[in-house]
């Protein structure tokens, strides 16, 4: 009986912790490159184009409540920190929802549209929102899953260390 309980606990621990470690395999490695259209379809942007800047990639969707809170915070951070670029990768099924959200909240960031969810799949995002901080050489230095208001200070600290 004891053994069965122990085995059950191990299984639960594996299930719980297997989803908790997103991004650690990306840490210290060059961020996978991608090329996406902006959400309004006016331009195409590649991650490589931003070498030389510290980049925050934020995966977000208009249907995700914490994403709706994190994006204005990151946009404000971009305004305050010179040399920082925020790439907001939207994964809505309908791009209009994302455009509408940005317009309504007057959020001015570079918003890209991951139409086929190829980028979010490639990064194997485990929860929404998820964000990565990439240094000037294109190397992933920080990964973050979820969002609470206090996380913004952590973002700021990490970014300032890379600028």
């Amino acid at each position: 009986m004891k053994r069965a309980c122990l085995a059950l606990c191990c299984c639960v621990a594996i299930v719980v912790f297997s989803s908790a470690g997103w991004g650690f395999e990306l840490m210290g490695k060059t961020a996978p490159d991608f090329m996406l259209n902006t959400i309004d379809g006016s331009a195409t942007l590649s991650l490589k184009d931003l070498r030389g800047s510290v980049v925050v990639i934020d995966f977000w969707a208009s249907w995700c409540p914490p994403c709706r809170r994190s994006l204005p915070g990151l946009a404000a951070l971009e305004q305050r920190l010179k040399g920082l670029k925020v790439l907001a990768v939207n994964i809505d099924d309908d791009r209009v929802k994302g455009v509408e959200f940005l317009r309504r909240n007057r959020i001015k960031v570079v918003a890209l549209y991951d139409q086929d969810k190829q980028v979010v799949k490639r990064y194997d995002v485990s929860a929404m929102p998820s964000a990565l901080i990439i240094d000037k050489h294109g190397v992933v230095r920080f990964v973050h899953v979820g969002y609470t208001e206090s996380d913004l200070d952590q973002f700021k600290k990490e970014i300032e260390g890379l600028l």
Binding site: F59, A61, W63, C64, I91, D92, D93, K117, V120, K121, V125, S126, A127, M128
Partner: protein
């Protein structure tokens, strides 16, 4: 015979698990619909807010929808 029955019972118990699927976090748009939230009174509450804002000719405080004319925006 007992062993065989146990085996069959386990197999039958496992069959429903075949219908389970892991939905990735970025594929949950439809599941994120507010109507699927635990709060079961969502539709009722929305309607009540709309009626309230129509009757009072004003809205706010409870994030009511629609204006004084009762039109959906």
């Amino acid at each position: 015979m007992k062993l065989l029955l146990s085996f069959v019972a386990v197999v039958i118990a496992l069959i429903p698990l075949g219908g389970c699927a892991v939905v990735k976090s970025y594929e949950r748009e439809k599941l994120a619909d507010p109507i699927l939230e635990r709060q079961t009174q969502f539709a009722k509450q929305t309607l009540e807010q709309k009626f309230f804002s129509t009757r009072e000719g004003s809205m706010g405080g409870a994030s009511g929808i629609g204006g004084g004319c009762g039109c959906a925006k």
